[in-house]
């Protein structure tokens, strides 16, 4: 398979980047998208050029490290997969593929296709936790009865891998799907009730401080999320936030 790639190249955070064109031959259908980039990089290294830097780790779709905007869509054309689980059979011989980093002011570019997503870490640190007393007589979490529906919804929210596709897809670069998933996974469980009010207030405040945009309910985030995190979480976060604000 022969491909025409257009890739964002940027030396470092300070430099100005640009799209660079590459022609790549000999790509197999069963290669993953990242393997295709590995082939490109091997060629570049052999020629003595700088390889294209991109984020990746587990390559199994569970770590949330890959972050590629492929032909205008986060993680590419397939649904419910991250870029590492995208395979070249989704493309055909002679295709042009545009590859860019996530674009958001809150996700500054580090190099080429790598962005700094520590804004998500700071949102988590602002309230994405529960306090559990580990000394004395810890209560087994399994001993607390929780409705199946609530447990399932909490688990579904907790499957968010924090990749940032929601921000990348959103026309407003809003991080509400991510933040709402992290709020929801605790808001639905009794263990999360103690810090419920301060959690949602602090996490939303941090989200705003990071410079993400506002949600306009287009639903793009839900469609592009590799884990299928639902918009219901955003509505839940809105409810939690309003009731926490009124409580003061």
């Amino acid at each position: 398979m022969k491909l025409y790639l257009k890739i964002w190249r940027q030396k470092n955070a300070e430099s100005k980047g640009s799209m660079v064109e590459y022609t790549l031959d000999g790509i197999e259908n069963d290669m993953s998208f990242l393997e295709m980039l590995d082939v490109l990089n091997e060629g570049l290294i052999n020629k003595g050029e700088e390889p294209v830097e991109f984020d990746h780790d587990c390559r199994e779709g569970i770590c949330g490290t890959c972050s590629l905007m492929i032909n205008g869509r986060p993680h590419g054309p397939d649904s419910r997969v991250s870029a590492c689980q995208l395979h070249m059979r989704s493309f055909k011989d002679g295709d042009s593929i545009v590859i860019e980093p996530w674009r958001a002011k809150a996700f500054p570019i580090v190099k080429d296709l790598i962005v700094d997503r520590s804004a998500f870490d700071r949102i988590q640190q602002a309230g994405g936790y529960i306090s559990v007393n580990t000394s004395g007589r810890p209560v087994d979490a399994n001993a607390i009865p929780i409705e199946k529906e609530l447990a399932d919804a909490s688990f579904a929210a907790a499957t968010c891998i924090g990749c940032g596709a929601c921000v990348a897809a959103c026309k407003n670069a809003s991080a509400m799907l991510f933040t709402s998933a992290k709020v929801s996974q605790f808001a639905l469980l009794p263990q999360g009730q103690v810090e419920a009010s301060e959690r949602v207030l602090n996490m939303v405040r941090q989200m705003d401080l990071e410079g993400f945009g506002n949600c306009t309910n287009t639903g793009a985030c839900e469609v592009e999320c590799p884990k299928g995190i639902s918009l219901e979480n955003i509505a839940r976060m809105n409810r939690e936030y309003l009731s926490a604000s009124v409580k003061g």
Partner: protein, 222 residues
Amino acid sequence: MSGLISSSLARKVVMALSGLFLVFFLAQHFTINITSVIDPETFNVWSHFMGYNPIVQFALQPVLIAGVVIHFVMGFALELQNRKARGINYAKYNGGANAPWVSRNMIWSGLVVLAFLGLHFYDFWVHEMSYKYVDILPEDPTRYHAETVAKFAPFWRTVLYVISFVLLSLHLWHGFASSLQSMGVNNKYTPAIKKFAKIFAVVIPLGFAFIALYHHLNPITY
């Protein structure tokens, strides 16, 4: 409460509440307007009531104007902030793959509706104000129907109104249901609410367009 004013979520709620208020107003406005087609006398009675009732004039009207101003000022502010949040635009962005056109272009449909409001205010509100407070003409409970029909005599005005109603429909198609999500309403009733919102988004603007066209095609001849 302190962080509420600057919070992104609170701003969403302000957009939602002002939007829902305007949706409610549209329903009320339509109910009165449709009588101009069904029964001109009823239309005259209601129009006169709306024009001279002190509660409507000095309490409800300012609230309505405030609702419109808050909705569009907040809409502009959010749009600017959202554009800034992206930073550098994508070389290729396939927004159509994951979100409907109407939801991504609320600012444009909103701007057309805002421009229409300018024309609509000039046509009816400015006319009313000058009738009552500039020319200081006497109350005439029978004038409204004939005045309304006459407004739609020019073809250009009727066309502008109809185009605006199409854009209003698109704006409501996304905005009505979206406002409920912003206020945290997303439960088992949501699919039914969304269906109602979409029916409203089509029926009400279509009704307004029908009224404009009806009066254009049925001028009063003396």
